[in-house]
Subunit: 147 residues, 2 copies
DNA sequence: GCTTGACCCTGTAACGATTACAGGGTTTAG
DNA sequence: CTAAACCCTGTAATCGTTACAGGGTCAAGC
């Protein structure tokens, strides 16, 4: 069990770029690691697993703040972990809303795609449709909400 | 048919914030409008419709660059509009891929949600799962890709 | 020895779209 | 006369990641 990986090796093992690893450290998701003689960061197995945790969370679409909360729970094993369930549930609901919204967009797009093959822009149904003022939702911040 | 709206009135009519309108102007999606005596921007009906076009495009999830291309086609009515269809088709495909990916994430989350009610973090299935290294996709830039 | 390339370091800016300021001016209603 | 509600410009923040610039260290190969 090797215990002194440099950042590049951690990157290839975790699929997380060195830049991101340093970023997580700056944000406090990772404790500043020990340094080798030349000032290089040296990571141990626990750090590797922590980075794997973060990447898995990110791949699920969790934001770094939520991941930080989950890591805090993990760091305090005696804590009540209802909060973890809250985070996951909230994110799942968020995802479901987002999927519904995207499906509505896709449906709307399907209605206009392939309607203007070979024509002139003046008669293009896509462009005409965009000028029609019935956006799916016209409220202020209601575009394609972020992931 | 009024033809001299100030930016705030345009904002309420189009559901687009004044900041965004000025932003679109800076990016070249909107031509710099005429100015009133006090230097205030004055918009006419055509500008309102153009902003509606942009908002509708955004609500469909198109990026401003694509919208700019569509506006360029609209500004040149004699152009072949195959490009419009390309943009819409590409975006639709993008949406469909994204929906599929999000559904996979939601499925994965559903498997862990509600598995740790009332327990201690040390035994939390959500946290345990995140430490398991089978992210849906562990490749470099493969998190929840942007909209 | 000396260069080339692959690492590592720090700090800063870019991406995209929007929002939020700071710091100022003008108008309007009380 | 003053406070609120507008408008202006320019800059910085948001989020997570990537890409630089400008520098240091170390190995292999000439």
């Amino acid at each position: 069990m090797k215990s002194a990986y440099r950042i590049g090796e951690v990157a290839t093992r975790t699929g997380c770029s060195p830049e991101s690893i340093r970023h997580y450290e700056k944000l406090g998701l990772l404790a500043p690691p020990q340094r080798g003689e030349q000032g290089y960061r040296r990571y141990n197995q626990a750090a590797l697993e922590r980075i794997g945790f973060i990447r898995h969370g990110r791949s699920l679409g969790l934001d770094l703040h939520s991941i930080q909360e989950l890591l805090a729970l993990s760091d305090n094993p005696d804590t009540d972990c209802t909060a973890a369930d809250d985070i996951a549930s909230r994110h799942l609901q968020h995802l479901e809303e987002r999927i519904t919204a995207l499906q509505a967009l896709a449906d709307e797009l399907r209605q206009v795609v392939h309607q203007c093959r070979g024509g002139k822009a003046a008669n293009c149904r896509i462009i005409k449709t965009l000028y029609d003022h019935q956006p799916t939702c016209s409220k202020r911040g209601c575009g394609e909400m972020n992931a």
